[in-house]
Symmetry: C2
Subunit: 113 residues, 2 copies
DNA sequence: TCATTCTATGTCATATGTGACATATCGTCA
DNA sequence: TGACGATATGTCACATATGACATAGAATGA
């Protein structure tokens, strides 16, 4: 992910209604991270449900154990594309993904609102 | 995103879903592309609803007109991350995104209401 | 016609993501 | 204890995505 994003935004000044817009952008960043978290959790859950090790999953995905670990850890270097396509390869439907994305909303353990 | 698969995809004309197996196109690939399509459409819809030109939107996103055009065109060079974060910046909620993703599901031919 | 605005498409330098590898930690079992 | 399997973390070469730019097409109005 872009760790320069915030810096760029701050440097930009953000002409119109700056403070409000800035907060909005911050929230957007947070939302994206939460969505990824939901996908990460879903990936780990599916893997474990299938009784696969990270190595086994990596083989299925034609990736590596370390990348699987990073996917599940929500590492910033992992794209949403990778998470989504991995979940799809594990048999998730787009409805499942939609759910995972919404499920990643806030803190874990919260009942859905 | 593997360019080889994309090339195959596009070379096929990407018409109907019957030849995909021969081209090595998995269900997962198809699903991912459909999800992106849903996001692309949603982005365009939101932009137009706000009465923004691509240039104006690009400015808001701190991107360029050409990239916005590519996002909306579903260009293979556009990542899901970019689509999602752009939509979030336009004020979409994760529920909206979940919907867009599921909306990108099936036949695009349907001139939906 | 020309001029303007909006959008599409191609290219490129550079930023970012990815798979692979090494290595560390942790738990389990003999 | 040592060995093994599973997971985490750091690094790197290479692949891919991104913003910026140029340019073209399409639509509108003078």
């Amino acid at each position: 992910m872009k760790n320069t994003k915030r810096a760029k935004l701050e440097a930009a000044g953000w002409a119109v209604g700056s403070v409000k817009k800035f907060l909005g952008l911050s929230e957007a960043d947070e939302a994206l991270i939460n969505m990824k978290r939901g996908l990460s959790r879903s990936l780990r859950a599916r893997r474990q449900q299938e009784g696969l090790s990270q190595v086994q999953l990596a083989t299925r995905l034609r990736s590596s154990q370390s990348r699987v670990a990073k996917m599940e850890a929500g590492d910033p270097s992992v794209s949403m594309d990778l998470l989504v396509s991995s979940l799809l390869l594990l048999g998730a439907t787009s409805a499942d993904l939609a759910k995972a994305i919404r499920g990643g909303e806030k803190g874990k353990g919260r009942h859905a609102a």
